[in-house]
Symmetry: C2
Subunit: 477 residues, 2 copies
Amino acid sequence: MRSILIFLAVLGGLTPFTHGQTPELHLQHTGDSTYIRAIYDEALARGEAHANLRQLTKDVGHRLSGSQSAFDAMQWGQGVLERYGADSVWVMPVMVPSWTRGTVAQATAIINGEEHPLRVTALGGSVSTPNDQPLRARLVHVKSLEQLSQLPPDEVEGRLVLFNRPMDPVLINTGAAYGGAVDQRGRGAIAAAKAGAIGALVRSMTHALDTLPHTGAMYYEEGIDSVPSAAISTVDASWLANQLKGNPDLEVVLEMNCRAFPDVEQGNVIGEWRGSELPNEIITLGGHLDSWDIGEGAHDDGAGIVHTLEVLRILKALGYTPRRTIRFVLFINEENGNRGGKTYAARAQEDHTTTNLRYLAALESDAGGFVPRGFRIDAGDEATALIQSWNSLFDPYNIHQFRRGGAGVDIGPLKVLEPRPAMMGLSPDGQRYFDFHHSSQDVFENVHKRELELGAATFAAAVYMLDQHLPTPGTFD
Amino acid sequence: MRSILIFLAVLGGLTPFTHGQTPELHLQHTGDSTYIRAIYDEALARGEAHANLRQLTKDVGHRLSGSQSAFDAMQWGQGVLERYGADSVWVMPVMVPSWTRGTVAQATAIINGEEHPLRVTALGGSVSTPNDQPLRARLVHVKSLEQLSQLPPDEVEGRLVLFNRPMDPVLINTGAAYGGAVDQRGRGAIAAAKAGAIGALVRSMTHALDTLPHTGAMYYEEGIDSVPSAAISTVDASWLANQLKGNPDLEVVLEMNCRAFPDVEQGNVIGEWRGSELPNEIITLGGHLDSWDIGEGAHDDGAGIVHTLEVLRILKALGYTPRRTIRFVLFINEENGNRGGKTYAARAQEDHTTTNLRYLAALESDAGGFVPRGFRIDAGDEATALIQSWNSLFDPYNIHQFRRGGAGVDIGPLKVLEPRPAMMGLSPDGQRYFDFHHSSQDVFENVHKRELELGAATFAAAVYMLDQHLPTPGTFD
């Protein structure tokens, strides 16, 4: 009964929307709050995000850039976009790296002749151990790149570096705690090689004391030796550090046969829904289709992909007519290169130069399928103020964060456009994110149906509000 | 390094606190924000809530009122309160019901001679099936008590009623969805008996489509037959309803040997920390120690118990000197009687009449160990406005709900006091709560360490703010 009433209210509310130049006029428009309520109802009562995530994670599986399953995921995404009624669906080609984890990633501590297996996995992009053979070395234990650089050479040369600085537990924003520790993963191998070490073990990026190695991107620098680098579980990292106190001479045997192959052509999958009123103004939204190759990439970023698809489904189900052109983008290669995002922005730059297409706004969901809290806003002052003025419309859905910050890695490169698009990143609660992130536990079962649906609805409501109320570029900013 | 700086800031900030009559003067006091930051740091870096919850759920286990394990829990709680340095610890005696689930709770659907087991459990307080023997009957399927009351007698008499109205998925507040469905559980047996039915099966109170029966309190009415009432899993309830379409004559066999025994004396466990400045003004905080007898009562309400204990530990660790007397109360018998809460309020009423003790404020945590969102405030207009004015102090911790509403079942009876205490209920995110609530899955493993710690810190910060800034009763309200 209640749903029917809302549905009628929505039908009634659609026609009288007006689209003047002064967004303030519409802020508290009854039509907006009614429409947003209808979006949440649709997501919660008839949502398909959870079922889509099951398909992506269970039928396709994990989807590392360059892999066959990344191709499969592209095909799956095209199919859903077509089924949900995008006007056109195409692939924007992107050359992506092709790195494989290989078949072996193991490490053992040798203490007084006894072998203690350690839980490790290769960091993404790492070279193998020399000739794919086991490497045996003593350890040097540090908490930072800086500490390593200050050690005397004889304490480092020929050893494996154990980078063991935990994520700071007192930071409320877990992303900030990640940001404060992840230099060890990204640049640990470079720092190790510079100091004369032959490889690196990096404490996994998670608050949890668990036995899971969490992988992630790492880098090399030209002119500095490429040494192997592996993630080690937090339990094993703490245990090793403790063992070192009594057994400073303990050795670790590390063996990995990961390998890089030539780049492969894959691409961003794009579905477009043409605007009825201002079709040359583009609202982009998306997540990334690629994932790491352990787990199923359920939160990272299967959730963002099904959020994106669900926005199309919800707005179609409500009979919405977009004013602007809405682009649903399933980006490729966020994890180890961001070439999908960079390619999309390069094309947008061309469009700005050679056509009348204008990239009005961009939204990203790449922080998991958890209960939504709000948005990270990356926009000019006036667009930011406009978006922040929507907070009372979102309050009934417990959406309260309208903070400035990085809106997302994939849409980030669009920042260079003039006029600059207004960018919003969906911001779910982050307390559990790093339990799963880049690990074997980032699987479908660890995504909560209602939380995923609330994220999709919140994403859809933001798209709706931008489409309705964001002024044409140049009219402010 | 950062922690040391904060610690020094806290030490520096303690002395200059002043306690005037005008709370507004202190609202944005740097000391408050510094102190609250120290509270969160203590909870997140050195928290014991998670370890305490492990003890309560694993060493003690579930703790139904009147059971031996409820006695064990009381003893455990006294021990922790003493160890954490309460000035005095005592038990306030409470006579509690003593109901046991028994050894058998099973149901089977008989369809065309074939038996299909159903997942059921007795609702709390239910009588057994007659003479503890199986009862066999046809079903009548309804979505509400009202619908049942309107059916012709021959469609109900001698049958089992299947109450099958789901919790409304579109309500954002899952507690409201629970409130909109739980009359079936509480009053289903009464309505069934009134209409001539011989028992009730009630769809479990959860949004999840799962195979778990979720128990909970149910009631009888004098003068109306007491018929047995069981919870049935949502999957089985939906399956049965579907089977009934093709097989309206299907029968269900129900067997339960639950039983009520005479009341037993247990009690509220109370730890008191004497105020330094206004010791006759009491701030009560608590959760409930009893739980249902399936699962481990981890979220409901082990979380509230360890939140309460952690407030004492945190404030002691920071060297806090309370102005008012703080009472840490581990209530008994919230689940099936609320006699602990009622007894506590009756004593408070006596104190108001016969002593100069004044119950200034009361706080409760009984909504799970999930990431905190804010508070439910149940207070006069001025106290509510004061508490709501603290929102910017809590914003860095993602605490944003300062809504009026029921603060809690255990502290609820304190409402009758004059002057009325200001009451606050901790409000964690509720999307996952009913996945676990009153089921076998309400176990330690389903409580997240950081989320639990954030709840404890939020609870402690509210106690601190009330102690510092809530005016003496009568100065407003």
